[in-house]
Protein backbone atom coordinates (compact mmCIF):
# COMPACT_ATOMS: atom_id res chain seq x y z
CA UNK A 1 0.00 0.00 0.00
CA UNK A 2 2.77 2.42 0.92
CA UNK A 3 4.33 1.80 -2.46
CA UNK A 4 1.09 2.57 -4.29
CA UNK A 5 0.69 5.74 -2.24
CA UNK A 6 4.31 6.80 -2.97
CA UNK A 7 5.39 6.62 0.67
CA UNK A 8 8.38 4.88 2.16
CA UNK A 9 8.12 3.33 5.64
CA UNK A 10 10.71 2.23 8.15
CA UNK A 11 10.42 -1.31 9.51
CA UNK A 12 9.09 0.07 12.77
CA UNK A 13 6.44 2.13 10.95
CA UNK A 14 5.43 -0.87 8.88
CA UNK A 15 4.69 -2.85 12.04
CA UNK A 16 2.79 0.05 13.64
CA UNK A 17 0.62 0.74 10.58
CA UNK A 18 -0.06 -2.94 9.98
CA UNK A 19 -1.52 -3.23 13.49
CA UNK A 20 -3.42 0.04 13.41
CA UNK A 21 -4.91 -0.44 9.95
CA UNK A 22 -5.94 -3.98 10.88
CA UNK A 23 -7.80 -2.63 13.94
CA UNK A 24 -9.59 0.00 11.84
CA UNK A 25 -10.58 -2.50 9.14
CA UNK A 26 -11.67 -4.90 11.85
CA UNK A 27 -14.04 -2.24 13.18
CA UNK A 28 -15.40 -1.80 9.65
CA UNK A 29 -16.53 -5.44 9.69
CA UNK A 30 -19.85 -4.31 11.22
CA UNK A 31 -20.94 -3.01 7.82
CA UNK A 32 -19.71 -6.06 5.91
CA UNK A 33 -22.52 -8.11 7.45
CA UNK A 34 -25.26 -5.67 6.32
CA UNK A 35 -27.56 -6.60 3.48
CA UNK A 36 -27.11 -3.79 0.98
CA UNK A 37 -27.98 -5.68 -2.21
CA UNK A 38 -31.00 -3.50 -2.95
CA UNK A 39 -29.23 -0.19 -2.30
CA UNK A 40 -27.47 1.92 -4.86
CA UNK A 41 -24.20 3.54 -3.77
CA UNK A 42 -24.02 7.23 -2.81
CA UNK A 43 -20.88 8.93 -4.06
CA UNK A 44 -22.07 12.43 -3.28
CA UNK A 45 -24.84 14.05 -1.20
CA UNK A 46 -26.13 16.19 -4.08
CA UNK A 47 -27.63 15.02 -7.31
CA UNK A 48 -24.64 15.74 -9.46
CA UNK A 49 -25.06 17.12 -12.90
CA UNK A 50 -22.69 18.79 -15.30
CA UNK A 51 -22.17 22.43 -14.47
CA UNK A 52 -21.29 24.76 -17.30
CA UNK A 53 -20.49 28.42 -17.27
CA UNK A 54 -21.09 30.77 -20.17
CA UNK A 55 -18.21 30.54 -22.64
CA UNK A 56 -16.73 33.97 -21.99
CA UNK A 57 -13.13 34.87 -21.42
CA UNK A 58 -12.11 35.46 -17.82
CA UNK A 59 -8.78 36.09 -16.16
CA UNK A 60 -6.89 33.09 -14.82
CA UNK A 61 -4.27 33.06 -12.08
CA UNK A 62 -1.05 34.90 -12.86
CA UNK A 63 1.47 32.42 -14.30
CA UNK A 64 4.41 34.18 -12.70
CA UNK A 65 2.75 34.23 -9.27
CA UNK A 66 1.95 30.51 -9.50
CA UNK A 67 5.42 29.56 -10.71
CA UNK A 68 7.08 31.71 -8.04
CA UNK A 69 5.71 29.24 -5.48
CA UNK A 70 7.01 26.10 -7.22
CA UNK A 71 10.12 24.35 -5.88
CA UNK A 72 11.75 24.92 -9.29
CA UNK A 73 10.71 26.51 -12.58
CA UNK A 74 12.33 27.54 -15.86
CA UNK A 75 11.09 29.48 -18.90
CA UNK A 76 7.52 29.69 -17.64
CA UNK A 77 7.27 25.99 -16.78
CA UNK A 78 7.60 23.73 -13.73
CA UNK A 79 11.06 22.16 -13.62
CA UNK A 80 11.33 18.52 -12.48
CA UNK A 81 14.11 15.94 -12.25
CA UNK A 82 14.74 13.73 -15.26
CA UNK A 83 11.84 11.36 -16.04
CA UNK A 84 13.39 9.29 -18.86
CA UNK A 85 16.77 7.56 -19.08
CA UNK A 86 19.70 8.72 -21.26
CA UNK A 87 19.15 8.62 -24.99
CA UNK A 88 20.86 5.54 -26.52
Amino acid sequence: MANLAKLSLSEEEELMYTDQLAAILDHARDIMALDTDDLSPTAHPLELRNVFRPDVEAASLSRDEVLSQAPASEDGRFLVPRILGEAP
Binding site: L4, A5, K6, L7, H27, S40, H44, P45, V66, P71
Partner: protein, 486 residues
Protein backbone atom coordinates in the same frame (compact mmCIF):
# COMPACT_ATOMS: atom_id res chain seq x y z
CA UNK B 1 -7.71 43.15 29.33
CA UNK B 2 -9.34 45.68 27.02
CA UNK B 3 -12.92 46.82 27.57
CA UNK B 4 -14.01 45.50 24.18
CA UNK B 5 -12.83 41.93 24.79
CA UNK B 6 -15.73 39.51 25.14
CA UNK B 7 -18.18 41.54 23.05
CA UNK B 8 -20.06 39.47 20.51
CA UNK B 9 -19.85 40.00 16.76
CA UNK B 10 -23.28 41.62 16.43
CA UNK B 11 -22.54 44.06 19.26
CA UNK B 12 -19.18 45.02 17.74
CA UNK B 13 -20.62 45.51 14.23
CA UNK B 14 -23.39 47.70 15.63
CA UNK B 15 -21.08 49.83 17.76
CA UNK B 16 -18.52 50.22 15.00
CA UNK B 17 -21.17 51.15 12.42
CA UNK B 18 -22.64 53.77 14.75
CA UNK B 19 -19.12 55.16 15.47
CA UNK B 20 -19.49 54.39 19.19
CA UNK B 21 -16.17 52.58 18.92
CA UNK B 22 -13.64 52.27 16.08
CA UNK B 23 -12.73 49.11 14.22
CA UNK B 24 -9.10 49.99 14.92
CA UNK B 25 -9.45 49.89 18.72
CA UNK B 26 -11.41 46.62 18.56
CA UNK B 27 -8.68 45.08 16.44
CA UNK B 28 -5.85 46.40 18.59
CA UNK B 29 -7.40 45.08 21.80
CA UNK B 30 -7.85 41.59 20.35
CA UNK B 31 -4.33 41.56 18.90
CA UNK B 32 -2.91 42.61 22.28
CA UNK B 33 -4.74 39.79 24.07
CA UNK B 34 -3.46 37.24 21.53
CA UNK B 35 0.03 38.68 21.80
CA UNK B 36 0.13 38.25 25.57
CA UNK B 37 -1.62 34.87 25.92
CA UNK B 38 -1.51 32.74 22.77
CA UNK B 39 1.91 31.34 23.63
CA UNK B 40 0.12 29.17 26.22
CA UNK B 41 -2.74 28.18 23.94
CA UNK B 42 -1.08 27.86 20.50
CA UNK B 43 -4.34 28.61 18.68
CA UNK B 44 -2.72 30.72 15.93
CA UNK B 45 -0.08 29.54 13.46
CA UNK B 46 0.27 33.03 12.04
CA UNK B 47 -0.91 36.41 13.31
CA UNK B 48 -1.38 38.98 10.57
CA UNK B 49 -1.33 42.10 12.74
CA UNK B 50 -0.33 44.61 10.05
CA UNK B 51 -2.95 43.42 7.57
CA UNK B 52 -5.56 43.41 10.34
CA UNK B 53 -4.78 46.97 11.33
CA UNK B 54 -4.98 48.26 7.77
CA UNK B 55 -8.26 46.35 7.20
CA UNK B 56 -9.68 47.92 10.39
CA UNK B 57 -8.58 51.40 9.29
CA UNK B 58 -10.26 50.81 5.94
CA UNK B 59 -13.54 49.96 7.72
CA UNK B 60 -13.28 53.12 9.82
CA UNK B 61 -12.52 55.19 6.70
CA UNK B 62 -15.56 53.78 4.90
CA UNK B 63 -17.78 54.72 7.83
CA UNK B 64 -16.25 58.20 7.96
CA UNK B 65 -17.07 58.60 4.24
CA UNK B 66 -20.66 57.58 4.96
CA UNK B 67 -20.41 54.28 3.06
CA UNK B 68 -21.95 50.99 4.24
CA UNK B 69 -19.15 49.08 6.00
CA UNK B 70 -20.99 45.73 5.71
CA UNK B 71 -22.65 43.44 8.26
CA UNK B 72 -19.36 42.40 9.92
CA UNK B 73 -18.06 45.98 10.28
CA UNK B 74 -14.83 45.82 12.27
CA UNK B 75 -15.46 42.30 13.64
CA UNK B 76 -12.20 40.37 14.23
CA UNK B 77 -12.19 36.88 12.78
CA UNK B 78 -9.76 33.94 12.87
CA UNK B 79 -9.30 31.72 9.79
CA UNK B 80 -8.49 28.01 9.87
CA UNK B 81 -5.18 27.50 8.09
CA UNK B 82 -6.65 25.26 5.39
CA UNK B 83 -8.36 28.29 3.82
CA UNK B 84 -6.06 29.80 1.23
CA UNK B 85 -5.09 33.45 1.57
CA UNK B 86 -3.34 35.20 -1.30
CA UNK B 87 0.27 36.02 -0.52
CA UNK B 88 -0.02 34.73 3.07
CA UNK B 89 1.48 31.37 4.03
CA UNK B 90 -1.17 28.62 4.20
CA UNK B 91 0.14 25.41 5.76
CA UNK B 92 -2.72 23.00 6.63
CA UNK B 93 -0.41 22.46 9.65
CA UNK B 94 1.72 20.28 7.35
CA UNK B 95 5.42 20.39 6.53
CA UNK B 96 4.57 19.57 2.92
CA UNK B 97 3.20 23.07 2.25
CA UNK B 98 6.14 24.77 3.92
CA UNK B 99 6.83 28.19 2.47
CA UNK B 100 3.87 28.14 0.08
CA UNK B 101 2.07 31.44 -0.45
CA UNK B 102 -1.17 30.84 -2.35
CA UNK B 103 -1.75 32.83 -5.55
CA UNK B 104 -5.45 33.37 -4.69
CA UNK B 105 -7.85 33.64 -1.74
CA UNK B 106 -10.75 31.36 -0.81
CA UNK B 107 -14.22 32.71 -1.65
CA UNK B 108 -15.14 32.77 2.07
CA UNK B 109 -12.06 34.88 2.84
CA UNK B 110 -13.07 37.39 0.14
CA UNK B 111 -16.67 37.44 1.39
CA UNK B 112 -15.72 38.04 5.03
CA UNK B 113 -13.41 40.85 4.04
CA UNK B 114 -16.01 42.44 1.72
CA UNK B 115 -18.49 42.32 4.65
CA UNK B 116 -16.13 44.41 6.81
CA UNK B 117 -14.64 41.51 8.82
CA UNK B 118 -11.04 41.87 10.01
CA UNK B 119 -8.92 38.72 9.69
CA UNK B 120 -6.49 38.40 12.61
CA UNK B 121 -4.55 35.37 11.36
CA UNK B 122 -4.52 31.68 10.56
CA UNK B 123 -5.39 29.06 13.17
CA UNK B 124 -3.96 25.68 14.06
CA UNK B 125 -5.52 22.38 12.97
CA UNK B 126 -4.84 18.68 12.72
CA UNK B 127 -2.67 18.24 9.62
CA UNK B 128 -4.93 18.46 6.54
CA UNK B 129 -7.91 18.54 8.96
CA UNK B 130 -7.38 14.87 9.84
CA UNK B 131 -7.93 14.41 13.55
CA UNK B 132 -10.14 15.16 16.53
CA UNK B 133 -7.76 16.85 18.97
CA UNK B 134 -5.42 19.19 17.01
CA UNK B 135 -2.55 17.01 18.27
CA UNK B 136 -1.78 16.02 14.67
CA UNK B 137 -0.55 19.53 13.83
CA UNK B 138 3.10 19.57 12.80
CA UNK B 139 3.39 22.86 14.73
CA UNK B 140 2.44 21.47 18.15
CA UNK B 141 -1.01 20.96 19.69
CA UNK B 142 -3.51 23.67 20.62
CA UNK B 143 -4.74 23.53 24.23
CA UNK B 144 -8.24 23.85 25.66
CA UNK B 145 -8.77 27.40 27.05
CA UNK B 146 -10.70 25.98 30.03
CA UNK B 147 -7.90 23.59 30.99
CA UNK B 148 -4.48 23.75 29.33
CA UNK B 149 -3.89 20.05 30.04
CA UNK B 150 -6.79 19.08 27.79
CA UNK B 151 -7.35 19.11 24.02
CA UNK B 152 -9.63 21.63 22.30
CA UNK B 153 -10.98 18.94 19.97
CA UNK B 154 -10.34 18.98 16.26
CA UNK B 155 -9.62 19.31 13.58
CA UNK B 156 -10.55 23.03 13.78
CA UNK B 157 -9.15 23.19 17.34
CA UNK B 158 -7.26 26.45 16.81
CA UNK B 159 -10.37 28.28 15.59
CA UNK B 160 -12.53 26.89 18.42
CA UNK B 161 -9.95 27.66 21.12
CA UNK B 162 -9.40 31.20 19.80
CA UNK B 163 -13.11 32.04 19.94
CA UNK B 164 -13.60 30.39 23.36
CA UNK B 165 -10.54 32.27 24.71
CA UNK B 166 -12.07 35.56 23.46
CA UNK B 167 -9.15 36.13 21.07
CA UNK B 168 -11.80 36.69 18.38
CA UNK B 169 -15.61 36.78 18.44
CA UNK B 170 -15.78 34.74 15.23
CA UNK B 171 -13.79 32.11 13.37
CA UNK B 172 -14.12 29.94 10.29
CA UNK B 173 -13.47 26.21 10.28
CA UNK B 174 -14.15 23.23 8.05
CA UNK B 175 -16.14 20.11 8.92
CA UNK B 176 -15.62 16.77 7.15
CA UNK B 177 -16.69 14.43 9.96
CA UNK B 178 -17.30 16.82 12.86
CA UNK B 179 -14.27 19.11 12.70
CA UNK B 180 -16.33 22.23 13.53
CA UNK B 181 -18.98 20.78 15.86
CA UNK B 182 -16.78 18.56 18.04
CA UNK B 183 -14.20 21.27 18.94
CA UNK B 184 -17.06 23.76 19.45
CA UNK B 185 -18.55 21.32 21.98
CA UNK B 186 -15.23 20.69 23.75
CA UNK B 187 -14.51 24.44 23.99
CA UNK B 188 -18.03 25.52 25.03
CA UNK B 189 -18.97 27.58 21.96
CA UNK B 190 -21.34 27.41 18.97
CA UNK B 191 -20.18 25.67 15.78
CA UNK B 192 -22.16 25.06 12.59
CA UNK B 193 -21.80 22.65 9.68
CA UNK B 194 -24.16 23.93 6.97
CA UNK B 195 -25.95 21.84 4.34
CA UNK B 196 -23.43 20.53 1.79
CA UNK B 197 -23.20 23.07 -1.03
CA UNK B 198 -24.33 26.07 1.05
CA UNK B 199 -20.86 27.58 1.38
CA UNK B 200 -18.37 27.64 -1.50
CA UNK B 201 -15.42 25.30 -1.06
CA UNK B 202 -13.30 27.29 -3.52
CA UNK B 203 -10.00 27.83 -1.73
CA UNK B 204 -10.64 25.24 1.00
CA UNK B 205 -7.79 22.76 0.71
CA UNK B 206 -9.55 19.50 -0.08
CA UNK B 207 -9.63 16.56 2.36
CA UNK B 208 -12.75 14.55 1.36
CA UNK B 209 -14.58 16.56 -1.27
CA UNK B 210 -18.01 14.95 -0.94
CA UNK B 211 -18.03 15.64 2.82
CA UNK B 212 -16.09 18.91 3.36
CA UNK B 213 -18.05 22.05 4.23
CA UNK B 214 -16.93 25.40 5.69
CA UNK B 215 -18.82 26.88 8.63
CA UNK B 216 -18.78 29.42 11.48
CA UNK B 217 -17.67 29.42 15.12
CA UNK B 218 -19.11 32.02 17.52
CA UNK B 219 -19.95 32.47 21.18
CA UNK B 220 -23.68 32.89 20.46
CA UNK B 221 -26.22 31.37 18.09
CA UNK B 222 -27.03 34.81 16.67
CA UNK B 223 -23.40 35.59 15.86
CA UNK B 224 -23.00 32.20 14.18
CA UNK B 225 -26.10 32.94 12.09
CA UNK B 226 -24.68 36.32 11.14
CA UNK B 227 -21.42 34.85 9.85
CA UNK B 228 -23.15 31.98 8.04
CA UNK B 229 -25.41 34.53 6.34
CA UNK B 230 -22.29 36.32 5.01
CA UNK B 231 -20.46 33.24 3.70
CA UNK B 232 -23.45 31.30 2.27
CA UNK B 233 -24.46 31.54 -1.37
CA UNK B 234 -23.78 30.29 -4.85
CA UNK B 235 -20.26 30.53 -6.24
CA UNK B 236 -19.59 29.73 -9.89
CA UNK B 237 -16.06 28.70 -8.87
CA UNK B 238 -17.42 25.68 -6.91
CA UNK B 239 -19.41 23.36 -9.15
CA UNK B 240 -21.00 21.71 -6.09
CA UNK B 241 -22.31 24.97 -4.66
CA UNK B 242 -26.11 25.22 -4.52
CA UNK B 243 -27.92 27.82 -6.58
CA UNK B 244 -30.76 28.34 -4.10
CA UNK B 245 -31.02 31.67 -2.26
CA UNK B 246 -30.02 31.20 1.39
CA UNK B 247 -32.88 31.95 3.84
CA UNK B 248 -32.74 34.82 6.33
CA UNK B 249 -31.70 33.16 9.59
CA UNK B 250 -31.62 36.24 11.80
CA UNK B 251 -35.24 37.31 11.30
CA UNK B 252 -36.44 33.75 12.08
CA UNK B 253 -34.15 33.22 15.06
CA UNK B 254 -36.57 34.29 17.78
CA UNK B 255 -39.74 32.72 16.42
CA UNK B 256 -39.63 30.14 19.21
CA UNK B 257 -40.11 26.38 18.97
CA UNK B 258 -43.88 26.13 19.56
CA UNK B 259 -45.16 23.09 17.68
CA UNK B 260 -41.77 22.04 16.27
CA UNK B 261 -41.26 18.26 16.37
CA UNK B 262 -37.94 17.33 17.99
CA UNK B 263 -36.59 13.75 18.04
CA UNK B 264 -33.87 12.53 20.41
CA UNK B 265 -31.68 9.98 18.58
CA UNK B 266 -31.61 6.94 20.89
CA UNK B 267 -28.60 5.28 19.24
CA UNK B 268 -26.33 8.24 19.95
CA UNK B 269 -27.11 8.47 23.68
CA UNK B 270 -26.01 4.89 24.32
CA UNK B 271 -22.28 5.47 23.94
CA UNK B 272 -22.20 8.88 25.63
CA UNK B 273 -20.83 9.60 29.11
CA UNK B 274 -23.67 9.86 31.69
CA UNK B 275 -23.06 13.59 32.28
CA UNK B 276 -23.38 14.22 28.54
CA UNK B 277 -26.59 12.18 28.36
CA UNK B 278 -27.99 14.11 31.36
CA UNK B 279 -27.25 17.45 29.69
CA UNK B 280 -28.93 16.25 26.50
CA UNK B 281 -32.08 15.27 28.37
CA UNK B 282 -32.10 18.59 30.25
CA UNK B 283 -31.85 20.51 26.97
CA UNK B 284 -34.66 18.38 25.51
CA UNK B 285 -36.86 19.10 28.53
CA UNK B 286 -36.26 22.81 28.12
CA UNK B 287 -37.43 22.57 24.50
CA UNK B 288 -40.55 20.77 25.72
CA UNK B 289 -41.14 23.57 28.24
CA UNK B 290 -40.90 26.09 25.41
CA UNK B 291 -43.62 24.34 23.41
CA UNK B 292 -41.77 21.84 21.20
CA UNK B 293 -43.05 18.27 20.87
CA UNK B 294 -40.13 16.16 22.04
CA UNK B 295 -39.96 12.38 21.59
CA UNK B 296 -37.36 9.64 21.31
CA UNK B 297 -36.61 8.29 17.85
CA UNK B 298 -34.56 5.41 16.54
CA UNK B 299 -32.25 6.11 13.59
CA UNK B 300 -30.63 2.68 13.42
CA UNK B 301 -28.22 3.21 10.53
CA UNK B 302 -26.29 6.03 12.27
CA UNK B 303 -24.37 3.39 14.20
CA UNK B 304 -22.71 2.36 10.91
CA UNK B 305 -21.58 5.90 10.13
CA UNK B 306 -18.12 5.55 11.65
CA UNK B 307 -17.21 2.46 9.63
CA UNK B 308 -18.51 3.90 6.37
CA UNK B 309 -16.78 7.23 7.01
CA UNK B 310 -13.38 5.72 7.76
CA UNK B 311 -13.45 4.04 4.34
CA UNK B 312 -15.00 6.87 2.29
CA UNK B 313 -13.09 9.85 3.73
CA UNK B 314 -9.62 8.22 3.49
CA UNK B 315 -10.46 7.03 -0.04
CA UNK B 316 -11.24 10.57 -1.14
CA UNK B 317 -8.23 11.89 0.79
CA UNK B 318 -5.81 9.46 -0.82
CA UNK B 319 -6.91 10.81 -4.18
CA UNK B 320 -6.97 14.50 -3.15
CA UNK B 321 -3.55 14.33 -1.51
CA UNK B 322 -1.91 12.79 -4.57
CA UNK B 323 -1.28 16.37 -5.70
CA UNK B 324 1.47 16.85 -3.10
CA UNK B 325 4.27 15.52 -5.24
CA UNK B 326 6.96 18.18 -4.94
CA UNK B 327 6.32 19.60 -8.41
CA UNK B 328 4.03 22.62 -8.17
CA UNK B 329 4.16 23.93 -4.60
CA UNK B 330 5.64 23.48 -1.17
CA UNK B 331 8.29 20.99 -0.21
CA UNK B 332 10.50 19.06 -2.65
CA UNK B 333 13.03 16.49 -1.50
CA UNK B 334 15.00 15.85 -4.66
CA UNK B 335 15.79 12.21 -5.58
CA UNK B 336 17.66 10.50 -8.42
CA UNK B 337 14.60 10.55 -10.63
CA UNK B 338 11.00 11.72 -10.56
CA UNK B 339 9.62 8.66 -8.74
CA UNK B 340 12.22 8.93 -6.00
CA UNK B 341 11.42 12.64 -5.69
CA UNK B 342 7.72 11.85 -5.19
CA UNK B 343 8.45 9.25 -2.52
CA UNK B 344 11.04 11.28 -0.57
CA UNK B 345 8.93 14.45 -0.68
CA UNK B 346 5.78 12.72 0.57
CA UNK B 347 7.60 10.62 3.16
CA UNK B 348 9.24 13.70 4.68
CA UNK B 349 6.31 16.10 4.22
CA UNK B 350 3.33 14.15 5.60
CA UNK B 351 2.81 13.34 9.29
CA UNK B 352 1.80 9.97 10.77
CA UNK B 353 -2.00 10.38 10.70
CA UNK B 354 -2.03 11.67 7.12
CA UNK B 355 0.06 8.71 6.00
CA UNK B 356 -2.26 6.36 7.88
CA UNK B 357 -5.32 7.71 6.09
CA UNK B 358 -3.66 7.82 2.68
CA UNK B 359 -2.77 4.13 3.03
CA UNK B 360 -6.22 3.23 4.35
CA UNK B 361 -7.84 5.03 1.41
CA UNK B 362 -5.44 3.54 -1.11
CA UNK B 363 -6.37 0.13 0.25
CA UNK B 364 -10.14 0.77 0.13
CA UNK B 365 -9.85 1.84 -3.51
CA UNK B 366 -7.40 -0.81 -4.63
CA UNK B 367 -8.25 -3.43 -7.19
CA UNK B 368 -9.61 -6.53 -5.46
CA UNK B 369 -10.80 -4.64 -2.36
CA UNK B 370 -12.81 -1.82 -3.98
CA UNK B 371 -16.16 -3.64 -3.97
CA UNK B 372 -15.77 -5.12 -0.49
CA UNK B 373 -14.75 -1.83 1.14
CA UNK B 374 -15.32 1.39 -0.81
CA UNK B 375 -18.42 0.33 -2.76
CA UNK B 376 -19.89 -1.29 0.36
CA UNK B 377 -19.34 1.91 2.35
CA UNK B 378 -21.09 3.92 -0.37
CA UNK B 379 -24.14 1.66 -0.11
CA UNK B 380 -24.15 2.06 3.66
CA UNK B 381 -24.05 5.81 3.02
CA UNK B 382 -27.35 5.39 1.15
CA UNK B 383 -28.71 3.38 4.09
CA UNK B 384 -27.83 6.21 6.50
CA UNK B 385 -29.53 8.80 4.27
CA UNK B 386 -32.69 6.61 4.11
CA UNK B 387 -32.63 6.13 7.89
CA UNK B 388 -32.48 9.91 8.44
CA UNK B 389 -35.27 10.38 5.88
CA UNK B 390 -37.54 8.08 7.88
CA UNK B 391 -36.89 10.15 11.00
CA UNK B 392 -37.43 13.46 9.18
CA UNK B 393 -40.81 12.24 7.94
CA UNK B 394 -41.91 12.61 11.57
CA UNK B 395 -39.58 15.24 13.00
CA UNK B 396 -38.41 18.75 12.06
CA UNK B 397 -35.06 18.45 13.84
CA UNK B 398 -33.15 15.79 15.75
CA UNK B 399 -31.04 16.05 18.91
CA UNK B 400 -27.98 14.16 20.08
CA UNK B 401 -24.79 14.77 22.01
CA UNK B 402 -22.16 16.48 19.82
CA UNK B 403 -19.38 14.33 21.26
CA UNK B 404 -19.65 11.30 23.55
CA UNK B 405 -17.39 12.91 26.17
CA UNK B 406 -16.06 16.29 27.26
CA UNK B 407 -12.48 17.36 26.39
CA UNK B 408 -9.95 14.61 27.10
CA UNK B 409 -6.35 15.08 28.24
CA UNK B 410 -3.55 15.72 25.77
CA UNK B 411 -1.95 12.42 24.76
CA UNK B 412 -4.85 10.30 26.08
CA UNK B 413 -5.84 8.95 22.66
CA UNK B 414 -2.80 9.80 20.59
CA UNK B 415 -1.45 6.24 20.42
CA UNK B 416 -4.75 4.59 19.52
CA UNK B 417 -6.23 5.98 16.29
CA UNK B 418 -9.46 3.99 16.56
CA UNK B 419 -10.33 5.41 19.99
CA UNK B 420 -9.67 8.90 18.58
CA UNK B 421 -11.97 8.19 15.63
CA UNK B 422 -14.76 7.21 18.05
CA UNK B 423 -14.99 10.81 19.30
CA UNK B 424 -16.66 11.67 15.96
CA UNK B 425 -19.34 8.99 16.19
CA UNK B 426 -22.20 11.50 16.69
CA UNK B 427 -21.12 14.01 14.05
CA UNK B 428 -20.10 11.78 11.13
CA UNK B 429 -23.58 10.62 9.95
CA UNK B 430 -24.53 14.25 9.13
CA UNK B 431 -21.58 14.65 6.75
CA UNK B 432 -22.37 11.38 4.99
CA UNK B 433 -25.94 12.63 4.44
CA UNK B 434 -24.89 16.17 3.43
CA UNK B 435 -27.25 17.61 6.06
CA UNK B 436 -26.72 20.61 8.38
CA UNK B 437 -26.02 20.26 12.11
CA UNK B 438 -24.68 22.50 14.85
CA UNK B 439 -23.35 22.32 18.38
CA UNK B 440 -24.61 24.52 21.22
CA UNK B 441 -22.91 24.65 24.63
CA UNK B 442 -24.98 23.35 27.55
CA UNK B 443 -23.14 24.08 30.77
CA UNK B 444 -20.32 22.07 32.34
CA UNK B 445 -19.99 18.43 33.26
CA UNK B 446 -18.94 17.20 36.70
CA UNK B 447 -15.32 17.56 35.55
CA UNK B 448 -15.94 21.27 34.96
CA UNK B 449 -15.51 20.96 31.17
CA UNK B 450 -18.07 22.17 28.60
CA UNK B 451 -20.73 19.89 27.08
CA UNK B 452 -22.18 20.38 23.59
CA UNK B 453 -25.67 19.49 22.32
CA UNK B 454 -26.04 18.73 18.61
CA UNK B 455 -29.10 19.89 16.65
CA UNK B 456 -29.47 18.09 13.31
CA UNK B 457 -31.81 19.04 10.45
CA UNK B 458 -32.65 17.72 6.98
CA UNK B 459 -30.92 19.26 3.95
CA UNK B 460 -31.70 23.01 3.74
CA UNK B 461 -33.27 22.89 7.22
CA UNK B 462 -31.10 25.66 8.69
CA UNK B 463 -34.00 27.94 9.69
CA UNK B 464 -35.57 25.40 12.07
CA UNK B 465 -32.15 24.23 13.23
CA UNK B 466 -31.21 27.77 14.32
CA UNK B 467 -34.59 28.36 16.01
CA UNK B 468 -34.08 25.23 18.12
CA UNK B 469 -30.43 26.13 18.79
CA UNK B 470 -31.51 29.57 20.01
CA UNK B 471 -34.12 28.00 22.32
CA UNK B 472 -31.50 25.66 23.80
CA UNK B 473 -29.12 28.58 24.25
CA UNK B 474 -31.82 30.53 26.12
CA UNK B 475 -32.25 27.66 28.58
CA UNK B 476 -28.61 26.57 28.91
CA UNK B 477 -26.75 27.01 32.21
CA UNK B 478 -24.15 29.78 31.95
CA UNK B 479 -20.53 28.65 31.93
CA UNK B 480 -19.10 30.35 35.00
CA UNK B 481 -15.65 28.78 34.93
CA UNK B 482 -12.79 31.18 34.14
CA UNK B 483 -10.56 30.93 31.08
CA UNK B 484 -6.87 30.10 31.47
CA UNK B 485 -5.95 33.78 31.38
CA UNK B 486 -8.50 35.12 33.89
Amino acid sequence: MGALIGLGASAIAEMVSSKEISALEVTQEHLALIESHDKNLNSFLQITADAAISAAKEVDAKIARGEDPGPLAGVPIALKDNLVTRGLATTCASQILKGWKPPYSATVVEKVSAAGGVALGKTNLDEFAMGSSTENSSFGPTKNPYDLKRVPGGSSGGSAAAVAAKFAPLALGSDTGGSIRQPAALCGIVGVKPTYGTVSRYGLIAFASSLDQIGPFARSVKDAAMLLQVIAGHDPKDSTSLERPFPDLISNLDKGVQGLRVGIIDELIDGAAPMVGDALMASADSLGDQGAKVEHVSVPAVTYGLSAYYLIAPAEASSNLARYDGVRYGLRVEGQDMNETYVSTRTKGFGAEVKRRIMLGTFALSSGYYDAYYAKAQKVRTMIIDSFQNAYDRFDVLLSPTAPTTAFELGAKAADPLSMYLSDVCTIPTNLAGHPAMSIPYGLGENQMPIGIQVLAPALGEVNMFRVARAIENAAPTITKGLFWN
